[in-house]
Symmetry: C2
Subunit: 335 residues, 2 copies
C-alpha cells in the first residue's frame, strides 16, 4: 500500500504534514509513504524531527504549490509540477494507491477528476465528510460540495458509494441511507428529491426514506445523500448555529462573578463540545475516483494528517475502489 | 383596519387564540377584530375570560376546522366552511383586510393562493419568517417553504417583497439583501443562484451579494432570499444544531455535583438562549398575496397571537400590500 501525501497542502504545511507522516510511518509499518513536495523544505522538518527518514517513507520532489486561493481547475491545469498534481499523477500512473491532501479543496477535486479520473460509469465524484452525531458513529454526508447541482441518478450513485464506504471502511452492516429533505413523507420535497426517492427505493441499499436536517445530528441515518448545494447549506448552518450558541454561552459565563465561577467549573467539561466539531472527524473521501483520495481539513495538525493517512490505509486494506467499481457495474441499469 | 383571526388554528386553539385576541383588542383600540370559528366554543372562552365581548371584537361563525394533518389543498377546497377558509374569503371579499392564523401552514398558503389570490405580476407568494440574529434586528428569510423549487425571477421578486416588508413594517432604511449561497464570491453556487445573482444586481434594492448560511445568525443581512428547499434545510439545521448543543450542555450540567452547582448558577441566565429560538420571533407573513396574511407558529400561546395581530396591524398601517403591488409593477420588466 503506497500512499502519496501532498506535503505542501494545508495551513500548517509542510511542518504538520511531515510530522504527521512520520507518526503514521511509525504506527503503520505496512504502508509506504511518499511525501510529495519541495524536497529541501520537507527535509528540514525531518532533520528537525531528530533524524533520518524511516525506511517506509520517501520524498518525491515537486517544485510548485497550489495555494488556497488559486482557481482550482486552472491551477491544476497550469501548475503541472505542483505537489498535489504530482501526487495525483502518481496515483494515475499506479506508482501510488492513494492521495492524501490538506490543500485547496476545489483543486483536489479537480486533481481527482482531471488527473486521476472517474471510475467507469460514475457520473460525478462526491466529496463525503463525516458529520459527527450525538449518538452512534456519525453520518457520512455526500455530496458536500463537489457538484452544486445534481440529478436523481447522481444521488442514487452517491447512495451506493456511501453505503460501500460505511460498510468497507467503518464495517457497518447495512448502513441506513437517508435522503436529505424538508419532511419525512415520501412525496415531500423539490423536483430533485421527489424523483430521487423512487430511484433510491429500487436500489440494493438500506434506504430509510427522507430525513430532515434537524435530525441529522441525532444520528437518524449512517449515510445522507443530497446535492452539493443543499449539503453545503446544511453543514454551514450547523457551523453557524454552533458559533452563535457558543458566543451566547461565553457572554453568559462572563456576565458576573458568579457565572465566572460556573465557567471555571465547566471549562474542562466544555471540551466535550469539541466532539461536535465536524472538522475533527477525519478527512473526507472523494468517492467515485479510480483511486483513494482523502481531503484532510485545511487546518489539519500532525495528528489529523496521521489520521487521514490511517483512513486511506483502511480504505486500501478493504479494497474500497474495487468494491465501488463492482457495485456500480452491478447496478448499471438503475444508475 | 379589520383583522380576521382563525380562532380554530393552532395547538392551543381556540383558548389561546381567543385570549390573545382579547388582549390585542385592549391594546389596539384602532382595529376591528373578527374571531372566525365555532361560535359556542369561542363564546365559552370569552365568558371564562370574565366578560362580554369588547366593542372592537366580533365573532363570525364557521362550522368546520382544518386539522394539522389535513392535506392542505384538498382541505381548503373541500372544507368550505372551515374557520381558515371563511376568514380568507372575508379578506377576498373585502370584509377584512388581514388574516392571522396559527393553523396548518400548507393550508394557510393554499388559502392565500386559492381563496385570496396573488397580487398582479407575482409568480409565487413567499412565506417569510424572521430568523433572530446575535446582533441587530433579525433577518427576514424568504422563501421558507411556500415553493420548494424557484426560478431566478422568483428569487428576484422575493428580494423586492422582502425589502418592502423590512422597510414598511420594521422601518429599516435600505435593508441589506443577501442571496443564500455556498460562498461569497459572485460566481459561486448552483445554476439557480448564479442566474439569480445577476438579476438581483439589476434591481433597485440594496443587494449585498452572496451570503453563507454560517453568517446568517451573525446578522450579515436584513433579508435573505433562497428557494424554499434550501431555506428549509437552513432553518431545520439551525434547529437541529441548537437541539444537539443543548442536549450536550444539559448532560454536562448534570454530570457531577460540582457541575450541578454551575447549572444552578447558570439556570436563570440560560433563558437568554430563548431569544435564539426562531419560533419566538413573531408570525411569518405570506408575501405576494392581495391582503395581509400572517402565519403564527402552531404552538402559539395568547401572547404570540396578540403579537401576530399587532404585526398585521403594523403591516396595514404602513400599506404593505399596496407598496408591494406598486413596486412589482414598477419593476415589471426585470421581474
Amino acid at each position: 500500500m503506497r500512499i502519496a501525501i501532498d506535503a505542501m497542502g494545508g495551513d500548517h504545511a509542510p511542518e504538520a504534514v511531515v510530522t504527521g507522516t512520520l507518526q503514521a510511518a511509525r504506527e503503520f509499518a505496512d504502508v509506504e509513504l511518499i511525501l510529495v513536495g519541495d524536497e529541501p523544505r520537507i527535509a528540514q522538518f525531518i532533520t528537525a524531527g531528530g533524524g533520518k527518514l524511516p525506511g517506509n517513507v520517501r520524498i518525491q520532489h515537486a517544485s510548485e504549490v497550489i495555494e488556497a486561493d488559486d482557481e482550482p481547475v486552472r491551477a491544476v491545469r497550469r501548475k503541472k509540477d505542483a505537489s498535489m498534481v504530482v501526487a495525483g499523477r502518481m496515483v494515475k500512473e499506479k506508482q501510488a494507491d492513494a492521495l492524501v491532501s490538506a490543500g485547496n479543496t476545489g483543486a483536489l477535486m479537480a486533481t481527482g477528476l482531471l488527473i486521476i479520473g472517474r471510475l467507469p460509469g460514475i457520473h460525478r465524484p462526491a466529496l463525503a465528510p463525516m458529520i459527527p452525531t450525538l449518538e452512534g458513529s456519525g453520518t457520512l454526508a455526500l455530496d458536500l460540495g463537489a457538484n452544486m447541482d445534481a440529478s436523481p441518478e447522481h444521488l442514487a450513485q452517491y447512495a451506493v458509494m456511501g453505503t460501500i464506504y460505511r460498510s468497507k471502511v467503518h464495517q457497518l452492516d447495512q448502513p441506513r441511507v437517508g435522503l436529505l429533505n424538508v419532511g419525512t413523507e415520501a412525496m415531500k420535497g423539490n423536483e430533485l428529491t421527489k424523483a430521487a426517492y423512487s430511484q433510491l427505493e429500487q436500489l440494493p441499499i438500506h434506504f430509510i426514506g427522507n430525513v430532515e436536517a434537524r435530525d441529522i445530528l441525532s444520528g437518524v441515518c449512517d449515510v445522507v445523500v443530497c446535492d452539493g448545494f443543499a449539503g453545503n447549506i446544511m453543514l454551514k448552518s450547523f457551523e453557524g448555529a454552533q458559533k452563535a450558541i457558543f458566543t451566547l454561552l461565553k457572554q453568559t459565563l462572563t456576565s458576573s462573578a458568579l457565572t465566572k465561577i460556573a465557567g471555571l467549573i465547566l471549562k474542562p467539561k466544555l471540551r466535550v463540545f469539541k466532539q461536535y466539531d465536524y472538522r475533527e472527524h477525519g478527512g473526507a473521501p472523494l468517492l467515485g475516483i479510480d483511486g483513494i483520495v482523502i481531503k484532510s481539513h485545511g487546518s489539519s495538525d500532525a495528528g489529523a494528517i496521521k489520521n487521514a493517512i490511517g483512513q486511506a490505509r483502511t480504505a486500501l486494506m478493504n479494497h474500497l475502489v474495487d468494491a465501488i467499481r463492482e457495485e456500480i457495474k452491478r447496478n448499471e441499469g438503475q444508475l
